[in-house]
Symmetry: C2
Subunit: 235 residues, 2 copies
């Protein structure tokens, strides 16, 4: 936890917070804080600063907080991701959040197994937790938005054209002859397919609305590796 | 499994292999092959080609194989990684392998917890399995070498200078003012610290033998995200 993310309900005074539950346990067990110790804190949707531990017991940590700077700038990237396997979902959401992605669409695709859509990991609570973990990792305070789209074609035809408007739209496609570009100056919409990739008809649908298929080389990467490699390359 | 990695002991004839165990089960349960189906195969340390399923039962798959091409070129990157938490180790080794890294040093650092060195995940068998999974993911056949170095200072002073010789040596260090370079033409040695980073004395030791501290931005990334982002950026 590189930053303790605070929410309105944590405040017990204008500059005083009381942590309980997961964050308190982490601060106590992993950071092993004592009274007087300082931690980096941030308020969800707001600034970043320092928290000084005032007192703690086995279950709660009280801190005095002062905010003195803005969170990092958002990454100008909208990620359109074929819904990954539940096992991978948590890691991808947290990693994308830690890198500063603020808009994530989880979409269906031909090679997405139907059962993935029934995973309890798609619950609002879990998706919120993974994003909080990502912000705590990346020292950020702005929660990304996540949208689920269970129908590929209506999403691509009716909604995605407005999303890609004004952005450079790229779809990661290992067989594509064009290499992924470097240092794109403006905003990007990046689509990444499921294990096994988007099928040709899906690539064609994406191309029709302006996506360029690009490759990161002949190696096939896991989705979380591909997302990080593309972000490292583009920004 | 984007490639079935074959070993000498799998061969039951000059171009005939018999798979058992994990690979057979994966091919049967996940790929759901039948006789006549084709799979991408590669021979450890050798070429890539096709395997045609000749027959299968509940536990074994027999294939006729023909190799027709070389594996992808290695990534010209030596990775020096502070030993990550056991939970993360498998993913990092597999991901680094999938991206084509062929030389990986797992080293101690001040902020590496001593207990990590006793993890069963550091066993030869497990490290081999994770590299095989990485090759199967990235469609490659060349196993990377992994070396464990439990003493940071002797490694950095006595061994690392020869490793970095002729390469551009970079150490990922979020507070560094210099951004990570892009598209380095020659080979690179990349050092990545533990959670919480290398301490100043370790950064200084690395600088003395030619490492440049570079940053990927103010966000703090998990080790597997940082490795992928750096690879995406550098190559």
């Amino acid at each position: 936890m590189n930053l303790v993310l605070l929410f309105e309900e944590d405040f017990v005074g204008p500059d005083r917070v009381m942590l309980r539950g997961r964050r308190a346990r982490h601060v106590i067990d992993v950071h092993r804080v004592s009274a007087g110790d300082e931690l980096t804190v941030g308020v969800a949707g707001g600034g970043i600063g320092r928290g000084v531990v005032i007192r703690l017991d086995a279950e709660a940590v009280e801190m005095s907080v002062s905010l003195d700077r803005d969170p990092p700038l958002p990454l100008p990237l909208t990620l359109v991701l074929a819904l990954p396997r539940p096992k991978v979902l948590n890691r991808v959401v947290a990693a994308a959040t830690s890198m500063g992605i603020k808009q994530l669409y989880l979409v269906n695709a031909w090679r997405v197994e139907k059962s993935y859509w029934h995973s309890p990991r798609l619950s609002e609570d879990n998706l919120l937790l993974q994003r909080i973990l990502g912000l705590e990792q990346g020292r950020d305070t702005i929660l990304p938005r996540i949208e689920l789209r269970r129908l590929f074609r209506p999403f691509v035809e009716n909604e995605l054209p407005a999303i890609v408007s004004g952005t450079r739209a790229l779809v990661a496609h290992p067989p594509a002859p064009a290499p992924a570009p470097r240092t794109v100056p403006g905003p990007v919409t990046l689509a990444i397919g499921p294990e096994g990739g988007f099928i040709d008809a899906e690539i064609a649908s994406l191309e029709r609305i302006g996506f360029e298929p690009v490759s990161l080389g002949e190696r096939v990467l896991r989705v979380e590796t591909a997302v990080a490699a593309m972000v490292g390359r583009l920004f």
